[in-house]
Symmetry: C2
Subunit: 313 residues, 2 copies
Amino acid sequence: MANKDIRDVIMVGAGPSSLAAAVYTTREDIDTVVYEKGAIGGLAAITDMVDNYPGFPDGIEGLTLAGYFEKQAERFGAQIEFGEVSAIRDENGIKIVTVDGEEVKAKTVLIATGSDYNKIGVPGEAEYYGRGVHYCATCDGAFYRDKRLVVVGGGNSAVQETIFLTRFTTHIDLLVRSTIKASEVLRRDLQKFIDEGKITVHLNTTTEEIVATDGKVNSVRAVENGKPTTFETDGVFVFVGLKPNTQFLSGSGIELDEQGLIKTNEKLETNISGIFASGDVRSGATLQIASAVGEGAAAALSIREHLDELNRA
Amino acid sequence: MANKDIRDVIMVGAGPSSLAAAVYTTREDIDTVVYEKGAIGGLAAITDMVDNYPGFPDGIEGLTLAGYFEKQAERFGAQIEFGEVSAIRDENGIKIVTVDGEEVKAKTVLIATGSDYNKIGVPGEAEYYGRGVHYCATCDGAFYRDKRLVVVGGGNSAVQETIFLTRFTTHIDLLVRSTIKASEVLRRDLQKFIDEGKITVHLNTTTEEIVATDGKVNSVRAVENGKPTTFETDGVFVFVGLKPNTQFLSGSGIELDEQGLIKTNEKLETNISGIFASGDVRSGATLQIASAVGEGAAAALSIREHLDELNRA
């Protein structure tokens, strides 16, 4: 195992979780390479303002925070490279990771590729991401205290998050493409808020455009029962599902849950020994930066322990 | 449950984990009180330099970081009070928490009282805590790159951490009061480092004093086999056990592991519904600020979910 062509750890994805893990591994001289196919910092980097990452009492811009994570990992020697990982396999304990078509070997792997929120794909959605268009109520709901919102979606999570958002808002228009597809308990809950006038549900309603003036979202153009209409609003939350970035694991033998998130044990290890997962790609993830970072640190300790066991063997 | 005398959540201990949780709960208007019997910020507050909390690329003083955690929780309305919690019990779902002899009621409780490192109780130990005297190799080992160390202890964790520290140090003197009490595997491992001259083990050795000049630790006075001796060193690590702050839970019915740490499920809930635990007091804790904070955020989401269920019932 002293072969220098075999890295100590390959981390897949350069979001908060793996950058936190890399701070830990590299600070302990564990040879670490992080591969990222897109932007460093993950979803944090494209978040306008992060209000709830502990340590920044007045909030911090997502891009700035992501930059700090990167700088800290690099300070201790993390090697961050651009490259798309398309496959991972285990050969007699050695992990073979395919990066841009080339095979790289490692003793351990940390998968921290995160999840993406599904988009509705209308004009204005990408432009105002994080500045009027949101996908995480826990993260951004509190910015809409005493404001009006439009929510798009009709499944369990849409209904649940809409109810949650009522603790901040004066009123919510819930735009549902066809009909509500939520559990009986949630429908009953929803009815209470409809009765109180806090939520208005619009069935058979297609969202067409998110409209802003001077960079500030102020309305949503939609078609309700075939009739064009406009909803005035201070912001839009979209809850139409989550897409875990685990497509590249098909055929890897790594166990996923029914949502496509990676199953791990209490050591954040997958069903394959020496392959770990942390952050938003992990089954049970909270989709919070703080938790992704905490799990990254914990995963690094598990990785160290695994490497120690290999050295001992 | 609308009784105003019943708090939404009582958090016990004002360290990084509960302060992180309080950022989440209060930001969502969940009525939150945090009781602390000692210093706000927990062990973080008495750490000289925190190098591995993600977000601070050049490290940050522990006291400063703890202050940021506190300020952020208070910004959203957390009420932090001084008071010693001596008992927690559940009466038909209502949690009764005894604070300075008075009973306070809550719908949920988060226990985040942390753990303390056992001390050897010699002169110099308290004075140079975090500045030459350390209890966590993962946290502070990297500050001793190419330096000499003295380690005090002889159990499993002392041997394991001493071996870990060799990745940084030039040499370690391991001072063992009587004999090594570690597993066979660890002893075999240790022998390799002894043979390589990286660790010298001193049995029947009692540590008497940690000596510093101009505020800088430079030696340890000890008695080896009855003979006074001095070990030159750049720092001291003490590994003589961990004391989880769970004594006040005796009789509560909350399940602890054999070390006295609180057992939790994947939602960070204890065996009593509505009572949660996070951070260093939790069985399986990594004793890292990042993980304590991440767990605090996750616990807050579980607490919110629990409160929602109560409201629904």
